[in-house]
């Protein structure tokens, strides 16, 4: 049956398929460095939670300090402070807080937004800002609020109305002294700029547009090869972002410049709870973020998406060439020919009608009558 064999397209069995998308990437862009900062360091705006006593709130130049002791309790106990906070998250999407909490207590940060007089919580129990453990050391917390709120609520909120910071502890038969210090509270905006030239950047973005996924074709990993110029000692963290899902890749330390990159990020791990920077302009992108130091240029050599296919597929080349021929036949032969035939027939009919209507009076006249 060789003739039949020739007429059949080749078949690819289920499994991994690498797709070269190097040509599909958008021009690289970056977060300019330093950021625009909206400092919310007026500590006197903070208030102790209502109806609770035994805790002290001190304001100073260096920050806000909450201290006290959580009493013995057979149930988990908590205490909170809050303030009104009106921030345009579209303008300043990244929240930054420098906080120091004693190891004996846990803590969390909760934002709210006001819509038509109703206070809407923007947090969820499992998000990156809630139920954190105190470490006794200063901690940098930096979170993209637009992503966090959309993950928590399923909606886009572009402003906040208030914030609450709480300290918590599980059930305990002893009182628990604690202290919480907020040393910095800011909202940041890293403007996105073109990164076609050497510059001083906080993060670099390689946009991949919108990733196509179907029930039979799922994306498993992404790979990028290239070089990045960065200041010596820079720590670079690679991420792959697809919609609201953020996957962390390898961390690079710049001991020389440029640094050769061979990034592979698997999508099988759980999505990161928080992302510290701007979301990309596109739905999907590979992002290099500096934990310290400055990036100056990224050269991308190769980007590929690795899909897992669950179904048997015919050869795309054969299908493509076959579809190409069909397209040519349809658009250059069948459709124009149909239009020409219809047009010609209509013209012929119109002429015939005109001729018959022109000849009718003459015929009638010949027979001695007019219409």
């Amino acid at each position: 049956m060789p003739v039949l064999g020739i007429s059949l397209p080749s078949v690819t069995l289920p499994g991994m398929r690498a797709m070269d998308v190097t040509s599909l990437r958008t021009p690289t862009y970056a977060e300019s460095n330093p950021a625009r900062i909206l400092a919310e360091n007026n500590w006197t705006l903070w208030n102790l939670g209502a109806g609770q006593g035994g805790f002290t709130l001190n304001y100073s130049e260096s920050g806000l300090s909450l201290s006290g002791s959580l009493p013995p309790s057979s149930e988990p106990s908590a205490f909170s402070i809050s303030r009104r906070l009106s921030v345009n998250l579209t303008e300043y999407p990244v929240m930054y807080m420098l906080v120091d909490v004693t190891p004996s207590a846990g803590y969390g940060i909760r934002f709210y937004s006001s819509r038509l007089g109703l206070e809407t919580p923007l947090w969820s129990e499992s998000d990156a800002l809630n139920h954190r453990s105190g470490t006794g050391q200063s901690e940098n917390i930096q979170v993209n609020m637009l992503r966090l709120t959309e993950l928590n609520t399923g909606r886009i909120y572009d402003s906040t109305s208030s914030v609450t910071v709480y300290v918590e502890r599980g059930a305990s038969s002893e009182s628990t002294p604690f202290s919480l210090q907020i040393k910095k509270f800011e909202f940041l905006d890293f403007p996105l700029v073109s990164a076609s030239m050497l510059g001083s950047y906080h993060a670099l973005y390689v946009g991949l547009g919108q990733i196509q996924q179907t029930p039979s074709l799922s994306l498993r990993s992404v790979q990028l090869q290239g070089r990045v110029n960065a200041s010596i000692g820079t720590l670079i963290v690679a991420y792959f972002i697809n919609g609201l899902f953020v996957y962390q890749g390898p961390v690079y330390s710049s001991t020389k410049t440029p640094v050769d990159l061979s990034i592979s990020i698997a999508l099988t791990s759980q999505s990161a709870k928080s992302f510290s920077d701007n979301l990309p302009r596109e739905s999907a992108a590979i992002v290099l973020v500096t934990a310290s130091g400055v990036l100056s240029q990224l050269t991308v050599e190769h980007v590929s998406l690795n899909y897992y296919s669950k179904v048997v597929e015919t050869s795309p080349t054969t299908a493509k060439s076959r579809n190409g021929l069909l397209n040519d036949a349809f658009f250059f032969v069948v459709l124009p020919a149909s239009v020409l035939i219809l047009l010609y027939s209509q013209l012929k009919r119109t002429r015939a009608r005109r001729t018959s209507s022109d000849s009718a009076p003459q015929t009638n006249a010949r027979h001695g009558s007019t219409v």
Binding site: R155, R281, E282, V311, N327, L335, Q346
Partner: protein
């Protein structure tokens, strides 16, 4: 217009009570109680382009700029909600206005071509066509059909250059809009005002290079709109018939509504063309409809076939004229379309691929 509250109710019901299937909804809901279901699927492109321009998307240039531009102009009228919600309210309000305008122009032009009976029937069929919910949601169909209807009306009332300008705007509303140049150019063969019709037809066609030049100024690539359209992933009728068993097996109603709607549309456009019963006045419009339906049937996404047929007035003229002497057929069509409209609206909200 009276059919819109029903559509709105079904969208709200679909979003509030409908269960997502895992991969849906495809875009984050905007912060609008009840109305957030208006922005789904390709709405994200229109909303994104309106505020962020074309650089936001890889396939953004598949979408024409007029509807996003209108939303961009109108959304500051809704300062009491966030930007995305304001865009949705702006798009929704504009769509209602556009639909009202469409009803006026389409009724007038159909009345002129066929008489009042067919005009009323055509409007009724348009209102309950299975995909007519696209006139309400954040898609460009309402904008497109407004300019198409207005262009046809002014063409029939001999204000040909005005019609050409409106056709140009239709070309900036949807990718297939430039094809409305066909009636202008074909009328050159059959009617007077030949030069004006030729100029108007070329004006409509100019929407294609105009958008290509705009794409060039943004990307340096004059072919960006065409490459963008060609590279978008879609399942056409060829893909459907390549593997019909898979397509049928993966959905409860895979493409049934789309296929029924497009088959009916094709029959009522092709039938008078093949039988040669059309007057010289009507022939150019039916020929245009034939080309549009042929192109979208061959190369359009199967799940959007009913949407493509929705914005082609001769589809409704053909059905309305045929049913003018067959009241039972007309009632059956109305009832069938209404049922499919309800089902399609609910399916679109969360389960578009089943439509």
């Amino acid at each position: 217009m009276a059919s819109r509250p029903l559509v709105l109710f079904l969208i709200a019901a679909g979003t509030v009570f409908g269960n997502s299937t895992g991969t849906f909804p495809p875009i984050g809901d905007v912060n609008l109680p009840v109305l957030y279901g208006l922005a789904r699927w390709d709405s994200s492109y229109y909303l994104g382009i309106a505020t962020g321009g074309y650089a936001v998307f890889q396939h953004g240039f598949s979408f024409r700029p007029l509807f996003p531009l209108i939303m961009r102009i109108l959304y500051p009228l809704f300062p009491f909600v966030d930007v995305k919600s304001a865009e949705v309210l702006a798009g929704f309000s504009w769509n209602l206005v556009a639909l009202g305008g469409t009803a006026v122009y389409l009724e007038r032009s159909t009345r002129q071509l066929f008489g009042p009976g067919v005009a009323n029937r055509a409007l009724l069929l348009l209102a309950v066509f299975p995909s007519s919910f696209f006139f309400t949601v954040i898609y460009s169909e309402a904008t497109y059909i407004l300019f198409i209807s207005a262009a046809l009306y002014y063409l029939e009332t001999r204000r040909v250059l005005v019609a050409g300008g409106l056709g140009f705007l239709a070309g900036l509303s949807r990718p297939e809009g430039f094809l409305v140049a066909i009636p202008f150019l074909v009328k050159v063969f059959f009617e007077d005002q030949k030069v004006r019709k030729l100029i108007a037809g070329l004006t409509v066609l100019a929407s294609v290079p105009a958008f290509a030049v705009y794409a060039y100024t943004r990307t340096g690539n004059i072919l960006a709109p065409f490459q963008s359209e060609a590279s978008a992933s879609k399942c056409t009728i060829l893909c459907f018939f390549n593997n019909p068993v898979y397509e049928v097996a993966t959905g409860v109603l895979p493409y049934t509504i789309n296929l029924v709607a497009i088959v009916l549309a094709v029959i009522f456009v092709v039938r008078p063309l093949v039988r040669g019963t059309l007057s010289t006045k009507l022939f150019p419009y039916y020929l245009w409809a034939f080309v549009v339906l042929a192109v979208v049937f061959y190369s359009g996404e199967v799940l959007s076939l009913a949407r493509f047929a929705l914005v082609v007035p001769p589809v409704f003229w053909g059905q309305a004229e045929y049913s003018s002497t067959r009241p039972r057929f007309f009632h059956g069509l109305l009832i069938g379309y209404s049922i499919m409209l309800c089902l399609a609206t609910i399916l679109w909200v969360n389960w578009y691929p089943m439509l």
